[in-house]
Symmetry: C2
Subunit: 143 residues, 2 copies
């Protein structure tokens, strides 16, 4: 299947590229939450956050930090979100991993999530489940 | 000023801690978007994404990836968001840098952002501004 981000990397599709190095490319989102909304993308194709190798993650997060500083300064943003959506249920629309950098302004934040509440035991039960899963996979993590 | 996340690190405040290593601690958000919503936090205090040193960023993103896999598996999520909010305008409420891991399910995604549109020249103008800022700071980035 054609991947639009791979096509941008290979210059088969157009984009307003603002940054590029050996591993990473960044360009403006054509459907911005705010002007200057930027996508930071590994040049190699990985479907989502969980499949990006550690070295690539390091390249990406460092470039994202650098680019975020410039985006914030350029559009005089008051704040910013750094977001990765993974899976359709999370709002991912291009299945080539990327970070969104979204500039934010004091008068524009309208995202009011509906929070859930844990029952009195619920929080510990969820924590236990995750701790147990983590302990099973501890040996595959070289953190 | 008291920092609640520093207090959690120092065991002066309680939390459902699910992960801890020399540099990173992770615990459940008490106000979850979905059950299993987790915060990944550097043990040292940094106000926001832009002030976290590169080595710490690397520790954090690797731990976040590892923990995300376990959270997703534990709550049988279909997808997930990895989010950092920076500045009040972006929804940051605790000014100690952290990543949110938010499990998502096929029937629960209700965030419909209001997108903006670039004018025909607007996109290039924003890209030019950011490229120019980036070029000024290129020498301070060791990507």
């Amino acid at each position: 299947m054609e991947c639009i981000f791979c096509n941008i990397v290979n210059r088969k599709a157009e984009a307003e590229i603002i940054y590029e190095d050996d591993n990473v490319i960044a360009f403006l989102d054509i459907q911005p939450i705010n002007y200057g909304h930027t996508l930071v993308v590994p040049k190699k194709h990985y479907d989502n956050f969980l499949t990006v190798p550690p070295e690539e993650l390091n390249n990406l997060i460092k470039a994202t930090q650098f680019i975020t500083g410039a985006v914030k300064r350029s559009v005089k943003a008051d704040g910013f979100n750094v977001i990765s959506n993974n899976g359709e249920s999370a709002g991912q629309t291009v299945f080539h991993f990327h970070f969104h950098i979204i500039p934010r302004f004091n008068d524009d934040f309208t995202f009011k999530p509906r929070f859930k509440n844990y029952t009195s035991d619920g929080m510990k039960q969820y924590a236990d489940k995750i701790r147990s899963t983590l302990s099973k996979y501890k040996d595959v993590f070289n953190g």
